[in-house]
Symmetry: D2
Subunit: 501 residues, 4 copies
């Protein structure tokens, strides 16, 4: 069993018998559907790059379980270097595809399962960790795609899972059998779910002791009985159905991750695929592990996406003849600054990572949270600057086919050409890329993926340790000469340990 | 001849023989095409409100030319009260339709033509002003829609019209006849052009003396020979073709103004419809008049649109149960603050308006420019906050039809419901409204309509009068006791006149 | 009795027997103290301008009580034109002095007293309004300075006046006599208090019915028995004591308003000087009236101050040779934009003002609140840009005297000169102006004067009328064809009255 | 020779015969002058911490030259761990002192000298590197303070050194002797210069080939003949002269770095102290090395300073009773977020560092530049939020002595107390800390230290490599399947090397 080729990947998807709907229509082979093709292409691209010796060590690595070469998207982070390589890989893939490449959720969900299963076992004498390692070895050896499934529908946001009018608003166990559990509910916003092999279900929120039925982490094949995948509607996605080769913006790779809604209609999961089952006290911890890793990622992938967007914007400026204008350059600098800030934070969070009890590595959580918080602002700001520089034609350009229309094509071309000898379709393509790469779906993903902005702020308040900061102010102002300590990520760096405070 | 009813308006459009393309397809009766219907509805709504005595004096007013009651969108601003009423009307219509209602460009273009034709006549002994008054009287009496056509394709942005590789990149006169002129070129981004009766063509940029052929202002019926209208592609507009009643976001009124590209393929314009012809020295002035009025407008219309967007966002917060959350309220306050800032500026610019030589009124230009500059920032910020509050479902919601699908409809509904007893489609509708009201096309319109942000900044630098400000600093710091003067909009308010400085 | 000359003003201050402390020192004649001199100069400048026929109508106006010419700072706003003239006057004075000119608090406090005394009388049959008119006529005829006293010490911010550990944390009546009341407490942040003739005490917060003793509005001469004035310490104010003629930044007029703490140690106030006494239900209303007028002011005065700061910054850019640099110009444009936004809002709020029951005019409250909210941001942003452009010498420049030092003066001069032939002290002066005009005291005043930012936000939320906005969204989205109404400042502009909603 | 104790440090300063002026006054022993004492205390604190075994390895390290234990502020960065330890040390010291601790300029200047001297020697066969190592060994062994001297007066900013009206506007060699050089000129903004032992002079800007006389890097004892130190005036520094124990804000450590102007009046520097002399082609490189390291530092030191400021702000919120208010907490979160963003970037830049030719380590330059760029914004934003939360008393508080005044002390105390039992002076102290820690001098230092914001932007544009980004956009959009490469800090991370492009 070796790293799959892109063709093997596509064929392996075709072999699945998924129960999938694209919008309102049941589709037997989503992999061949135009709505899904760009997302399949994106994942195929990762398979392709993994075959390329020039990316060995970045896209691939050695499994700490088997010693075999695996795709890094199935790897457990065993060092800060692994954390750093992840961020660098994300940036490279962001640059290569100009879109979301879907695999981070599964990667971080696997890492959260690995770490928490170990901690539960230590505390409770369970054997989740071995189960998960066996599962993971299979994923690695078969080079499979695992989609993480985190976000529950949530119903009324002020109520906990057990308080909802409808108890199914969070995925839950409805039956426990000797050989496994039966789960019911749904998971929303599943990036890449429709072109993955496996779904790794994790709880989406911390739970109270009495909410044990909601405490379930388990793996489900995408074509398991009772699983339905419903592909969502996204900005301008109808253009994909029309055979557009330009107006999609990024026709090869699409402009987002291809999100599906997953419905679990009483799905049976055998014990060997269950990695947490009722241990409510570990759930908040697991959610937090996942979210912390995931928040740092955005500095990598969105950094890479922004490179492409900045490039497209600079290209339009060149076409318009304004690339040397000082103000245009200053706006492009601002785009660079905003996204490099996010990337720098992701590198910082990774470099400052530390070992978890199981031996795998966590990113520094304060830094990881700043990265995602900045993403919720800077991706918008960068999109706005792209609009500013590129100009009004983003909003009023006739559709692609009009450029070839026998009656009006000549005019549509003539009046969108900037310089004699230009290829007018180049201007159209870069404009359409910008239009779509900074569209509602893309922006909303940057806002709410890996947790809404307020989620990060609550974490920051806790990590910010105001009590300690007040103590610092007291020491400075009142001349207290106690030795201060420096702690990063909850770990003592220097000075005396005051962690009991 | 009286104010038209909505039905009369629609019938009057059907009677036109326009040469129109929607995307790639020739359409004989655009008024009945689903892509155009929302825009027709919006304008119809104005006709409807004009019939309503409760809005008499705001939506309608008395013509200063004939004394007859007319729609305010065909009125010349004869006082600061007229300027203020315009802004208030725009806000009300923005609130009523939640979208662009298309008529401001024509209104401001008519006002620019009225004012400049007077000034040319005074300087040159021409009779443009009388011509224009005759034309305008016809518009008022027939209650017609006039689309202003300003923006030329512009080719290479660093070159003036006469330097372009293709001389047609700016609309120009290609033939002068005793009875009129023949024009060639195109105008882009024509809001409402496809459901208007008339096009008022104005130059789009200041010109050099040798560019007299580009100095042309004239009126053309939309169905004049040689005119082609090409409707642009906009965010999610394909949904209109699918009979969507929800996913369009604002199914009745659409989410932007319905922009077309206008092509003038050697169109003859008789003299009585020509209002500037070769007088290059007045062109920059005319562009500036138009832009100044137009920039103030955005505080009205976008203020009204934002009211609806804020309302939709607050509604989603209610559905989610978080409307009393302090942070959610604070974000809504920010949305209010940002847009009321723009509205306050528009009111200020109008109240501080002053009479032009012809007797009509100009808004205070510094204030008008601040309004538009703030729009280019605040509309984005407001959209971002709407995304923040409404949540991730904006990006992944299944399409409307899926809610009624016999197989999956029950799940799509179940897992998007927040509270027992809610109508799930309400949540969908408000989400779709937000998705579309803060989409690329809408945002880009806010960025570039009435001039790109840099255009306003250049004007502000001129109006800011740094020489005078340096003088103020010198007077304060060096103890100079000269009497200072206060000038607003270039007019002396108090102190001695130092306008020669 | 006519308008005072500057000399008469200074002499009238010398005649007062105030109990004043400057810092830690009792000072019998504050008017002659170097800490106070700049603030006296500033007010003197207003007296001077009022004498100048070129400012007649702006700085002076006709009393609606007596028909006599008065200083506008003692005038009741009897029209929107009066509101507009106030803002314009503030901008002119801001430009003339480059600092706070202290008189707005008293002006707005007098207007609040005028309006509320009328409303109490109507409701309660009292005679406060006549008392106040008599008092005001004296102020107008004697051309006196009235300092408004609003802000109580407030103790614990989460407790109301009657809940405080110390009942004196809000000014209160400690004894009621047939001929008057005895008050105790303090008022903080009194701008201009030490060089005024009168103090107008108003409640600082809304009150509960049981807090009648805190419901007191009255006028007190600054030298009344029991009144103590304690001048605060402000940024770099020690430089004033050293005979500096440059390092103060604005040596003639100072850089803030000269704030004092007022202590009322059981001060007797005769009935004819009492304008509200126990009517708790009117107190919130009075505070709100005052704050609303006052918040709009900042667009005028800070706009004028910013003109000087921008001028000083542009001057430094000239001295450094960078005034033509595109980025420098763009930053100056941003400074202009930010402050003109505030000014435009103040003009808007004034133009949209409306009549109160007593016949005087209130500014439009939403707009007024946006102005102050923007001030709390934009003054900081403008100061930051001034720092950016002016450069690091703002932070490290040797003191003024060093430039004349026999040993080092030559070097200090040589190494701060930019071009041969420049006067190096010009560079120093403008740098010192910027240093001080954007210092902590100035910034904090912009932040907290007329209410802290959160105060404005709470008002905006109320005025924003979310219920109505939700209704608009419902109407647009659900196709409700009810006639909408436009209300501005709580007044119906168009459409049917739905104010009962 | 061992690490100095604080007392030894102070005595070593007393032994120097500096020619120093504080403002206008010649001072023989600056170390004992109240204007200098806080800055001496700050550096003493570092000596103290270096003695503490709990900080061994962070504040101290092992010299790569001698293997002896040295203070990290005299160490050459020999690994990314050294870069990381620097940032962590800066944060700890920022937390401990709440101010600038002065030693980073010298540290980075020494590192720049070490690296560039090596590179010159390699290219030119000179022996600068050995000279510098000898010099550095002496500094390490004697545990001395080295102040870096970078910023020249610069005269007209649009002219290069040789074009200035006055050739001394940049430090230059005026005489070359066999045994050394004579230099003339001045360096501004020298942090810590007055309480250091040595000055390390580096060029302040890139030079043209014909400007060899300006190409000089050398070390000068602070008490060398011809050197004059002139201490600058900073915000509220007069309070230090008055024996204030509170109003200074940070009485022990001061609120900035204690900047001096250094004058070199024909100072002889022997050859062994000269590390670059005429090699103009290396000067831009040297400036860039210094600036890049220095820009990353700000994430550490300002991060630590912000911890104290946030602590002081939270303390005031507690005193006022509002620490649980949701909006107050949200503003504190924002303060945390803004500064942790800078810290994360500094950690990222350090972790991504790479080896220079000499074997020492450079931080990743794009990230380092984003850090400083964010500092120029975020320090202002954090200061503003501190003002917002702390309230208006920052601007009007009476001076410290008034609290003990026999007449008014009781009132000043009474009316600044929030809760019975509080120590009113605590509220005063924290307020004064905030007032001074976010004052003009502090802010301007954050703006212009390590280069003005525009300097970072120019570097970012170069590092941003628009050509490569355009290529990425072309590859994505046009379907080019070339292998992309990832380069960070100019180093290939993955993919094929295209550095020749």
């Amino acid at each position: 069993m070796a790293l799959k080729t892109p063709i093997e990947y596509v064929e392996s998807l075709r072999a699945l018998k998924v129960n999938a709907y694209i919008g309102n229509e049941k589709v037997d082979s989503p992999v061949d559907h135009p709505a899904i093709a760009p997302h399949v292409n994106t994942v195929s691209k990762i398979y392709e790059l993994a075959q390329n010796p020039e990316h060995k060590g970045l896209i691939t690595t050695e499994s700490h379980l088997t010693g075999r070469e695996i795709n890094r998207f199935t790897h457990i982070f065993m060092s800060t270097d692994d954390l750093l390589c992840k961020i660098k890989m994300l940036r490279l893939l962001g640059q290569t595809t100009g879109t979301c490449f879907q695999r981070c959720v599964g990667l971080d969900a696997m890492n959260a399962s690995y770490a928490i299963s170990y901690e539960i076992d230590k505390a409770k004498g369970t054997d989740y960790h071995e189960r998960f390692k066996t599962y993971l070895t299979g994923i690695q050896d078969n080079d499979l795609i695992v989609a993480g499934a985190m976000t529950d529908p949530k119903g009324n946001r002020t109520k906990s899972p057990s308080q909802q009018d409808d108890p199914d608003q969070y995925v839950r166990v409805v039956e426990r059998r000797p050989d496994g559990v039966v789960i019911r509910g749904a998971k929303l916003h599943n990036t890449g779910g429709i072109n993955s092999h496996e779904i790794l279900v994790l709880p989406g929120t911390a739970l109270k002791p009495e909410e044990a039925d909601y405490a379930i982490a388990c793996a489900v094949p995408v074509d398991a009985e009772g699983v339905t995948l419903i592909f969502g509607r996204q900005s301008n996605d109808d253009r994909k159905m029309q055979g557009s080769s330009i107006d999609i913006g990024n026709p090869r790779f699409g402009v987002v991750g291809g999100e599906v809604m997953l419905v679990f209609d009483d799905v049976f999961v055998p014990n060997e695929r269950v990695f947490l089952n009722g241990e409510t006290e570990f759930v908040g911890h697991m959610v937090n592990y996942f979210a912390t890793w995931h928040r740092a990622n955005y500095g990598g992938c969105k950094g890479g996406n922004a490179d492409v967007l900045i490039g497209a914007t600079a290209k339009v400026a060149q076409i318009h003849g304004v690339e040397k204008n000082t103000i245009v350059k200053d706006k492009i600098i601002e785009m660079i600054h905003l996204m490099e800030t996010c990337y720098a934070g992701a590198i910082g969070a990774s470099a400052a990572g530390y070992a978890l009890p199981c031996g795998s590595y966590m990113v520094e959580p304060m830094m990881a949270n700043t990265v995602k918080q900045n993403i919720t602002r800077n991706v918008y700001a960068v999109g706005r600057l792209a609009h500013d520089i590129a100009g009004g034609y983003l909003a009023t350009l006739p559709e692609e086919a009009a450029f070839d229309n026998p009656d009006i094509g000549k005019w549509v071309k003539k009046y969108h050409l900037c310089n004699e000898g230009d290829d007018v379709m180049e201007r159209v393509k870069y404009g359409r890329y910008i239009e779509n790469a900074a569209s509602t779906t893309t922006l909303v993903e940057a806002m709410h993926g890996a947790g809404s902005p307020q989620a990060q702020r609550i974490v920051m308040l806790g990590l910010g340790n105001l009590k300690k900061k007040v103590g610092m102010a007291e020491a400075v102002i009142n001349g207290d000469d106690d030795v201060l300590s420096l702690t990063i990520g909850g770990k003592l760096v220097s000075g005396k340990d005051d962690s009991e405070n």
